[in-house]
């Protein structure tokens, strides 16, 4: 079991950036019967989402978020020792996008950069990596950029996936400082690899055929280069694993939900999150949401929710619980001691 506790490391600042183009789920009449649209919106809790233009990548949204964070907090580029880019929609297959971002952000050549690739659980895993590096001698600051543009890998005629996903980029600055304990518990079950998948890659090489859109299960249309999700299996996975893992984390940290000031879930869908809240007997007022405005932005959704809903609310000390879950299957939670975290409001690019 990966249970990790850090001391003297924390999140100093956080920012987020979304594209300006809004897609409204009420306009999904071509995909979902008109009489079911309202019900669908109420159930998944997504009224609108942001979609990146064809020439805007996750890295661009992260770049803007990072610039904002650095400007708002007077962070000198040469004070950053490690840059991590967490995404499954990077600019290229080679090289790693973190290298491009080092150059664009004007970080020194001494900066250590690498990419991390995970689904909706990614922020928790990447954050634990950032905390680990920031704990090491010789490293003071880690800049974690987490962004996704799922609009580029989801078919607009896939009624399971298309109503859910939105695009966003985020920046989180982790550093050494006067912080209390933060505990992470991270889990993996690769037997569920088929639950959420893009079929084409190295094992199933990309051919001209891979690009052809075909009718799949239940009339959904997609190519082998686009995301498939078994909605029922994902739902079953999440409700059976997530509340249990959060209870386990609280138990290990000798805390209860009453000690948690804010619980931030990966914004998967509203029905699922409401189910978690009920199951954990958590006060719903301490569970911020931004899914209605931005949809499911995969791993970027946890930091996006903080930027969107907790801007200006994290002065002083707070205990925050974050939880992510998704493709892999992969899931994890962190109980975090926050201290004067500077949150910039969501910007657009």
């Amino acid at each position: 079991m990966a249970k990790i506790t850090f001391h003297g490391v924390g999140i100093k600042a956080l920012s987020a950036c979304v594209p300006p183009e809004v897609i409204y789920n009420k306009d999904l009449g071509y995909l979902v019967p008109e009489e079911e649209i309202e019900k669908t919106i109420n159930n998944i809790g997504i009224i609108e989402r942001r979609i990146a233009a064809p020439d805007v990548m996750a890295s661009d949204l992260c770049y803007k978020a990072a610039q904002q964070l650095m400007a708002d907090n007077d962070i000198a580029p040469d004070s950053i020792d490690v840059l991590l880019f967490m995404s499954q929609t990077p600019d290229y297959r080679i090289p790693a996008t973190s290298c491009l971002l080092q150059h664009r952000l004007g970080l020194p050549r001494e900066t250590m950069c690498f990419d991390i690739s995970l689904g909706c659980s990614g922020y928790l895993f990447a954050l634990s990596t950032a905390f680990a590096y920031a704990s090491m001698e010789g490293i003071n600051r880690v800049l974690l950029l987490d962004g996704e543009t799922f609009s580029k890998i989801v078919n607009r005629r896939d009624k399971v996936d298309w109503p859910l996903y939105g695009d966003a980029g985020t920046a989180t600055l982790i550093e050494k400082g006067d912080y209390g304990d933060s505990t992470f518990m991270l889990y993996t079950d690769g037997s569920g690899e088929d639950t959420l998948k893009i079929h084409a890659g190295m094992r199933n090489p990309i051919t001209p055929e891979s690009c052809v859109e075909r009718e799949q299960e239940d009339g959904n249309i997609r190519s082998d280069l686009e995301v498939y999700m078994d909605g029922m299996d994902v739902f079953n996975f999440a409700i059976s694993k997530v509340p249990k893992s959060i209870k386990q984390l609280l138990k290990e940290a000798e805390k209860s939900v009453d000690n948690v000031d804010y619980l931030i879930f990966h914004q998967a869908n509203r029905f699922m999150m409401d189910f978690f809240v009920k199951k954990l007997k958590m006060d719903p007022d301490r569970v911020p949401y931004c899914i209605h405005k931005y949809g499911n932005t995969s791993s970027a959704s946890v930091p996006l929710t903080i930027s969107s809903e907790l801007c200006g609310k994290l002065d002083g000390n707070h205990t925050m619980l974050m939880s992510g879950f998704g493709a892999g299957l992969s899931w994890g939670s962190a109980l975090m001691s926050m201290h004067d975290c500077k949150v910039s409001p969501v910007i657009e690019y």
Partner: protein, 77 residues
């Protein structure tokens, strides 16, 4: 657990369908209100009420309400 109670829990997941129109032999996918979202609430209901995990195939391979009940029954500890 018993079948009657299960049918009541199942019928409670619908907004517009009259509960007493749902029987053990009802082909639940033929209910007008049935949708993938109701399927998710079935998964949530069996987790909450019976602490049983339902996979997508359990629902895909079932036809009647009693088929669902039989799966739950086989997994209740």
């Amino acid at each position: 657990m018993n079948l009657e109670q299960f049918i009541e829990n199942f019928a409670g997941l619908f907004d517009e369908t009259e509960p007493d129109t749902i029987k053990a032999t009802t082909q639940f996918k033929d209910i007008e209100e049935w949708s993938s979202l109701v399927a998710l609430s079935v998964i949530a209901m069996v987790d909450e009420e019976y602490d049983v995990e339902f996979h997508g195939d359990d629902i895909r391979n079932s036809n009647t309400v009693e088929d669902l009940y039989d799966i739950v029954l086989s997994r209740v500890e």
